[in-house]
């Protein structure tokens, strides 16, 4: 007797198998795309398939990958967050200023993270408690926070005078740079959070049908505020790491980061309308972006052409996924 069944004698094992295979095929499309891209790059691009290059690739997407973990939650609950790029810049600048001012690396890092969390909390309250549209709210905070990072830094890069600060970004462990480990850690933590906790399942429920979730007793407002606050904290942390890697706080950095993070999520199969998203998908999406960028760099493709190529590949990858989903219907 099949494990999942309805007592009506009309359901057969064959139906069950086709249903499960169908859903598996639907979910793993981008993995196939990634495999193709990776294989092509390994065979076609010299020096691509080497340990040094692989670590470089992962390091290049460390910031995007880390923030994509929380953006997954944001998109899955049906919202947007355009302010992450500005938060990254501001937290890096703030950390640098605090470290220089107090001489304490720990205080600087904490300040950066908490400032990010504060921005996230403000986002969450405006969106969930007051009810302002997420796109507009985060568009506004994006501007405000960017302005603040210029103000705090007086418009210039803030060089950090404590060398202990650099260990976060420059050190490595077991052959992988620390920022990569942090990204991997985030994948694990947020993957568990999404799949194994009520918070994660509620996020998907809210994105799938907000009113139904509310009527079913899900704490919609609280969950959304938590999501944005978490995102702020993680973006703050990513900003501190970035500042550590650059040995300074840069007010103008991470412009357009939010769109790159959202692209990585979309590539990973996260639905922009909410309710659909997996951590494996996000990992795949981040890796696809990293691979393409890395391969183009190795091929010495000029940066202007890289812009065009990235956009075209994003479009093509999503189109392939859509076509594949339609053939199933």
């Amino acid at each position: 007797m099949p494990r999942f069944f309805s007592p009506r004698p009309t359901v057969r094992t064959r139906r069950l198998l086709t249903a499960r295979l169908g859903s598996l095929w639907q979910g793993s499309g981008m993995l196939v795309v990634f495999a193709i891209i990776f294989l092509t790059a390994s065979l076609g691009v010299p020096h691509f398939f080497s340990w040094v290059n692989m670590t470089g690739l992962m390091l290049s997407v460390a910031t995007i990958g880390t923030i994509a973990c929380t953006m997954l939650f944001c998109l899955a609950s049906g919202d947007f967050d355009l302010s992450v790029g500005s938060v990254v810049a501001m937290s890096g600048v703030l950390a640098a200023v605090v470290v220089n001012f107090t001489g304490s690396v720990g205080l600087g890092i904490a300040a950066g993270i908490l400032a990010g969390g504060l921005v996230g909390l403000v986002n969450g309250l405006a969106i969930a408690a007051v009810g302002i549209n997420a796109l507009i709210t985060t568009l506004a905070t994006m501007q405000i926070v960017r302005g603040m990072s210029y103000i705090i830094s007086d418009g210039k890069a803030v060089g950090v005078r404590e060398p202990a600060f650099f260990s976060l970004g420059i050190s490595s462990f077991l052959g992988l740079p620390t920022p990569v480990w942090i990204m991997i850690g985030c994948f694990v933590i947020f993957g568990l959070l999404l799949n194994q906790t009520t918070f994660g399942r509620n996020t998907l429920a809210i994105g799938g049908n907000r009113e139904a979730a509310r009527l079913a007793g899900v704490a919609v407002r609280g969950t959304k505020i938590a999501i944005f606050t978490l995102q702020g904290l993680v973006a703050g942390f990513a900003g501190v790491i970035l500042a550590s890697r650059m040995t300074s706080g840069q007010p103008a950095t991470a412009q357009g980061l939010e769109l790159q993070v959202i692209s990585a999520c979309v590539l990973g199969g996260v639905s922009l309308t909410g309710g659909v998203g997996t951590i494996t998908g996000v990992i795949v999406g981040v890796l696809i972006m990293g691979t393409i960028q890395n391969a183009m760099n190795l091929l010495n493709i000029p940066p202007f052409y890289q812009y065009v190529a990235s956009g075209v590949i994003l479009l093509a990858a999503v189109m392939v996924d859509r076509l594949r989903q339609r053939t199933i219907a």
Binding site: T18, G22, N209, R214, L215, A216, V218, A219, I328
Partner: protein, 509 residues
């Protein structure tokens, strides 16, 4: 009575399979021109799939459609329209912001090289509207029209395409009885113009009133085609639809009532004109009957806390419950099944398992945080078996289930809880006979367990069938209370019909 000739529209061994489900299995029957042919069957029987193949949305895996003896293949909806086939869906496909005339000629506006000829458009629109005998301004915006008027526009649209086959999908669910009479008049007129009419409906009384022939679908198969409805009984059709003898379906039986499970005093809020007072005993099924706008849904939502009441007191099992929202309501054992299950009830893109477990996680999560996948699966499986939810596996997305099964998923969500009172808003709307009976049985079983059931419904037969007591609502007030013994259809309807304010004589409460 028209002579039965070679059918104009013939379905020949039509088969369509989706992942995990065989929606149509070698369906074969014919619809003659000049006849109204009913297509009946439970939800999930394959009616909408058949209509989608007919209108060109899907392509059949096997089998074919013949028009006037010639096989036709539709590669798109445009092909079907060009072949003279129009399907009028339950959710009308009109563009609200555009005018009536533009909607009538949507897709084929008169004009040359993309330049719209407005004069010709309006003249043609007026012509078609007058053919139907409708007095609608062709320049009016569609969103300002009533549902019945919009339906007329859809029919006129079909006429502009010179449709030889017109299919109606549940056209009467939102119409008043007068509007239904008008619709039937129009359909008979279309039939007399020698068009082939396919009429899909749950309401067997309408089928007997309007149709000349009927085909019954069950589980994707064509069970039987009746070339004439004379001498047939509703029970026979129901048996064909459900596949079981009529006596197997739901039967009412009284049960003992305990103390009050739900007590409402002086509840007031949006949608209510006077404070509401009612009580439901443990094990009792109380019906809230009223017409559209009577305030039934609003009352249920106020009790549940989905909408904040302005004043009033709700007590559960004798204790005052300060219900400020759904979360408190659930903690006190009050649960709610909303009216529009697609909009407010289920999460369509999530799985059956997730939807069932949505509210009950706190019970089997140790910290209220970590979920236990094994217990989740067990709980979902238990509910699926208990309620006989038809789904190939627990991971099936709820949007792929039929309406009846979706409703069972919403009910299943509450069954594992410590349920004291359940509030049901139109629990069997859009659900066919077989699934309806199953849901009545479930409600009955809940009541026998000691749960207090408050059921809001606009379907009089349903309320008379299952309730122990009926509260009649009218224009935002509870106006009468009838016991099961005293409630007759005429009596209840009389109380529910709106009266002009101020009323000369009020019914005694």
């Amino acid at each position: 009575m028209h002579p039965v000739t070679t059918p104009y529209l013939q379905f020949d061994r039509l088969t369509k399979t989706f992942p995990g489900v065989r929606a149509l299995d070698r369906v074969t029957f014919g619809v003659a021109a000049g006849r109204v042919h009913a297509l009946i069957g439970e939800n999930g029987a394959g009616k909408s799939t058949l209509l989608k193949i007919l209108s060109g949305v899907y392509r059949p895996d096997e089998g074919r459609i013949l028009l006037d003896g010639r096989p036709r293949a539709f590669r798109s909806t445009t092909d079907a329209l060009a072949a003279g086939i129009v399907v009028i869906h339950q959710e009308l496909h009109l563009v609200g912001q555009l005018s009536v005339a533009e909607n009538l000629f949507l897709g084929h506006l008169p004009g040359r090289w993309g330049w719209v000829d407005w004069r010709r458009l309006l003249a043609a629109a007026r012509r078609y509207l007058s053919e139907l005998g409708e007095d609608i301004d062709p320049q009016a915006a569609v969103r300002n029209l009533s549902i019945s008027q919009r339906q007329m526009i859809e029919i006129a649209k079909a006429l502009t395409r010179d449709a030889r086959v017109i299919a109606f999908d549940e056209p009467t669910s939102s119409l008043s009885s007068r509007e239904i009479d008008r619709l039937f008049q129009i359909i008979r007129g279309l039939r007399d113009q020698n068009r082939a009419i396919l009429y899909v409906s749950h309401r067997l009384s309408e089928v007997f009133e309007l149709c000349d022939a009927a085909t019954v679908l069950r589980d994707g198969r064509c069970v039987e085609t009746f070339q004439t409805l004379a001498g047939l009984s509703q029970d026979l059709l129901v048996e064909r639809m459900v596949g079981r003898p009529i006596s197997d379906l739901y039967r009412y039986s009284p049960r003992p009532h305990g103390p009050a499970a739900l007590q409402v005093e002086g509840l007031l809020g949006p949608g209510l004109r006077a404070p509401a007072n009612l009580s439901v005993a443990q094990g009792e099924i109380v019906g809230l009957f009223g017409l559209v706008g009577a305030g039934r849904s609003e009352l249920l939502r106020l009790i549940y806390g989905a909408v904040r009441p302005t004043c009033g007191q709700v007590s559960i099992c004798g204790r005052a419950a300060g219900i400020r929202g759904p979360q408190e309501a659930i903690r006190r054992g009050v649960m709610f099944c909303p009216e529009d299950r697609k909009r407010d009830g289920v999460i369509p893109i999530r799985s059956v398992q997730e939807n069932i477990n949505l509210s009950s996680r706190r019970r089997f999560c140790p910290l209220g945080l970590l979920i236990h996948p094994g217990r989740e699966r067990q709980n979902a499986l238990r509910q699926v078996q208990r309620l006989a939810i038809k789904t190939p596996w627990l991971g099936q997305l709820v949007m792929n289930l039929s309406g009846g099964n979706q409703q069972k998923v919403v009910l299943a969500r509450w069954l594992s809880e410590d349920l004291r009172v359940i509030l049901l808003d139109e629990p069997t709307r859009g659900i066919d006979v077989g699934a309806k009976a199953e849901i009545y049985t479930i409600i009955h079983a809940l009541a026998r367990r000691g749960v207090g059931v408050l059921l809001a419904s606009s379907e009089l037969p349903e309320v008379l069938e299952i309730c122990d007591r009926i509260l009649v609502m009218r224009q935002g007030r509870i106006v009468a209370e009838l016991s099961r013994a005293k409630a007759t259809p005429q009596e209840v309807l009389k109380l529910a019909l709106p009266v002009a304010e101020p009323a000369a004589a009020r019914e005694p409460l």
